[in-house]
């Protein structure tokens, strides 16, 4: 049983979330009810039960970024976030405080972000273009 969470992490890493079929497989392999897997998946922040969005955006909510206005950036993208095409998650600190405010779009770090630049990047990504600069 010590490897139950390790196995779930492997699945999470492979699919980006925990698909139902895989949970059923784990449930029978470890002989635990699926409700217990559900309680694990919702307790630990590493797990997600929904497929990841096509584009992922993280805004840093670390001290330096908040002071430099990252909360305003957060408000600016609210209207675009739908969880399917664009998923949003705040992150505590990227450790790139000298570039605050920091936004990460599809894994690429953008420093000294402004509202207008952020809107452009997000719109371009949602229209099917690349968010890479």
């Amino acid at each position: 049983m010590e490897f139950l969470i390790n196995s779930l992490l492997d699945i999470q890493n492979r699919y980006g979330y925990l698909p139902k079929e895989e949970l059923k497989r784990i449930s029978s392999k470890f002989n635990v009810p699926i409700s217990r897997l559900y309680s694990i998946a919702t307790f630990y922040s590493a797990f997600s039960l929904k497929p990841p969005a096509k584009h992922k955006i993280n805004i840093c909510k670390g001290t330096a970024c908040v002071i430099k206005g990252s909360e305003v950036l957060e408000d600016a993208i609210r209207g675009y976030v739908d969880g399917v095409n664009l998923g949003y998650e705040p992150i505590r600190c990227f450790g790139a405080c000298s570039m605050a405010p920091v936004v990460v779009i599809d894994g690429e770090i953008h420093g000294k972000m402004t509202i207008s630049r952020l809107r452009k990047l997000v719109e371009r990504g949602l229209e099917g273009g690349s968010t890479k600069t």
């Binding site: 049983m1 010590e2 490897f3 139950l4 969470i5 390790n6 779930l8 992490l9 470890f30 635990v32 217990r36 309680s39 694990i40 307790f43 630990y44 922040s45 590493a46 797990f47 001290t63 002071i67 430099k68 206005g69 909360e71 305003v72 505590r92 600190c93 450790g95 405010p101 402004t114 509202i115 207008s116």
Partner: protein, 590 residues
């Protein structure tokens, strides 16, 4: 398995011609991998001096290594100092003669290293983390060899006498924990707690990435002493490099006969499994960690029974943190007297701290217990603007600058309302608002409360609401009393360390910086941090219309009308960029 042969191989590779680059996670973030590739260098752990990374050390044949700081190109880099590879290690090591560089500064002359005593970090930044030969050449596995010839009771006695206390923060005497587990019968487990969740603390990561065998050797000695054959390392998933390094290290130790059946040709057998955490701060609490290994949500349970009596799967279990385990080989090899010669009456040995925030020299330091915060912050960190020092992570407290002469040990920090915790030290400058700092930590602990105990789950939420109100200028005098009452309830009625200590940041800031709270209630944030209480404007008589503020405004709130600039208060997000960039003091903060 031949210790002598491995040792000779290690000496060869350690003292020959060699260029090394610190490639722990922090070094990599500073660009160490590129440097490593361009120099065709070997990757080692971290020498601790984060603000000087990437750190490159160059060792010519027969000469001691020279360390260069902030390396992009080696030719242009500044020399930090030279040192002998063995000189940070307290162990007596056979080593060849190396010529020193007496015309250059020695590493020890740098303020960052002057007061350090390295026991836990003895090999970090010197050996290649996965070279078991180099680990042995630096005195590794000699302690296990010695321990296997001792009686388990003798080992426990040695640890007890050394005065070693748990480095995870609570400070329970390690030897006593082992003795309790030893006396219990049947199958037993040892666990290494590597779920280092405090933001701003990374000493465990550094040890795991830089010197994994020291932890594995420590655990093996512990397992032999308490009579266990199976161990776990619970490491957080957010440390991918540490996880990979550990998995490799366990395999290498096994291949060389230091783990598995009949360790070092004795009749003792011991195996180690790596279990990954899944992103829950509370799992650093030992009973929550056990629940997590058992495959449940990480919720703490009532103690007693303590894990040493009934732990993992109800079996006696010794849980110690990474730093504690890394101390064990040194205590066994050098004896308890050596270890106990450092520190204070009740807190022996050294402690690793991560010094971050408003200091010049950020990094990991290992200092004897009993050193004062002033020495750490001002002498080692070379800070010049200090208002307070936050110790012990999100559940620690803020010690004001006036009290920084107090010696650092477990008891004294508790007297000040803080805790030792895992050893994070955040230096707070005069430009920070203490109410905002308390709010920041409450936001963290309220999000990380596991939800089992109602006082912690609801109390922290309520406290956060009240403090939020105060930072928005809507607080009242009663709110302060309300906060104190709630803090008392949460600390008294919660089960585990998280809830018991979560009010610390609030209580210490209220105790030492009460005036700042009162100022907020009167509608002013003295440090100019709380945005609802700050207003920026441009003084036309001082403004020279250079336009620097306009360029730097992130939201375009600054506009030029009639030759002077002004701030549109509806658009202003109060980030303070204009205030910081103006060279003529024309931006006013009220």
């Amino acid at each position: 398995m031949d210790l002598q042969k491995l040792k000779e191989k290690g000496i060869c590779s350690l003292y020959g011609e060699r260029i090394t680059v610190g490639t722990s996670t922090c070094g990599i973030a500073a660009g160490a991998l590129k440097v490593k590739e361009s120099l065709n260098a070997k990757g080692v752990g971290c020498l601790g001096f984060c603000s000087a990374e990437p750190l490159v050390s160059v060792q010519e044949d027969g000469k001691a290594p020279i360390v260069y700081r902030n390396v992009k190109e080696l030719e242009k880099a500044e020399i930090l100092g030279w040192f002998y590879p063995w000189e940070f290690s307290p162990l007596e090591i056979d080593h060849p003669e190396l010529e020193g560089h007496h015309n250059l500064p020695h590493l020890r002359e740098h303020p960052f290293y002057r007061k350090q005593v390295k026991i836990v970090l003895r090999n970090c930044g010197v050996i290649e983390p996965l070279s078991i030969e180099q680990y042995i050449a630096m005195g590794g596995y000699h302690a296990l060899q010695k321990a296997l010839e001792m009686k388990p009771e003798e080992i426990i006695e040695e640890i007890k006498k050394s005065g070693l206390r748990g480095r995870g923060g609570a400070g329970f005497p390690t030897g006593m924990k082992w003795e309790i587990a030893r006396k219990n019968e049947g199958e037993k487990f040892v666990i290494c707690n590597a779920d280092e969740g405090d933001p701003g603390a990374y000493m465990d990561r550094s040890v795991l990435e830089g010197d994994p065998f020291s932890v594995i050797e420590g655990m093996t000695i512990g397992a032999y002493a308490v009579g266990s054959n199976k161990g776990f390392i619970y490491v957080r998933n957010e440390y991918p490099l540490a996880v990979r390094t550990l998995e490799e290290a366990v395999k290498i130790a096994k291949d060389n006969g230091f783990l598995g059946e009949n360790i070092m040709d004795s009749d003792f057998s011991f195996e180690i499994h790596i279990v990954k955490g899944a992103g829950a701060f509370v799992c650093g609490e030992e009973t929550a960690l056990i629940a997590s290994i058992e495959g449940y949500p990480g919720e703490p349970r009532i103690r007693p029974p303590y894990p040493a009596e009934k732990g993992l799967w109800e079996k006696p279990t010794v849980i110690n943190n990474v730093e504690t385990w890394a101390n064990i080989p040194v205590i066994i090899l050098k004896g308890w007297k050596f270890f106990a010669s450092f520190g204070t009456e009740k807190s022996k040995g050294t402690k690793v701290f991560s010094v971050v925030g408003k200091v010049k020299n950020t990094g990991l330091i290992e200092v004897p217990m009993g050193i004062s915060l002033r020495e750490i912050v001002l002498e080692i960190g070379e800070a010049d603007d200090v208002k307070a020092v936050q110790t012990g992570g999100p559940t620690g407290g803020c010690v004001p600058v006036e009290l920084m002469d107090v010696p650092v040990d477990y008891e004294r920090l508790v007297e000040l309302g803080s805790v030792m915790g895992s050893g994070g030290l955040v230096v707070i400058g005069n430009d920070s608002c203490m109410v905002d700092v308390a709010k920041y930590f409450l936001e963290f602990t309220k999000a990380e409360s596991c939800g089992k105990c109602i006082p912690c789950r609801l109390g922290l939420n309520e406290m956060f609401g009240v403090i939020l109100r105060i930072t928005q200028g809507e607080g009242s005098q009663e709110d302060i009393e309300r906060l104190e009452k709630l803090a008392d309830i949460v600390a008294t009625a919660s089960l585990c360390g998280l809830g018991k200590t979560a009010p610390n940041p609030l209580l210490t800031t209220l105790k030492y910086f009460r005036e700042e709270y009162l100022e907020h209630i009167r509608g002013r944030c003295p440090a100019g941090v709380c945005r609802a209480l700050v207003r920026y404007s441009i003084l036309p008589e001082k403004c020279v219309s250079c336009g620097l503020c306009e360029i730097n405004c992130p939201v375009g709130a600054i506009k030029k009308t009639d030759d002077v600039f002004s701030i549109d208060q509806d658009l202003c997000i109060k980030c303070g960029s204009c205030f910081k960039v103006c060279k003529f003091d024309a931006v006013e903060r009220i």
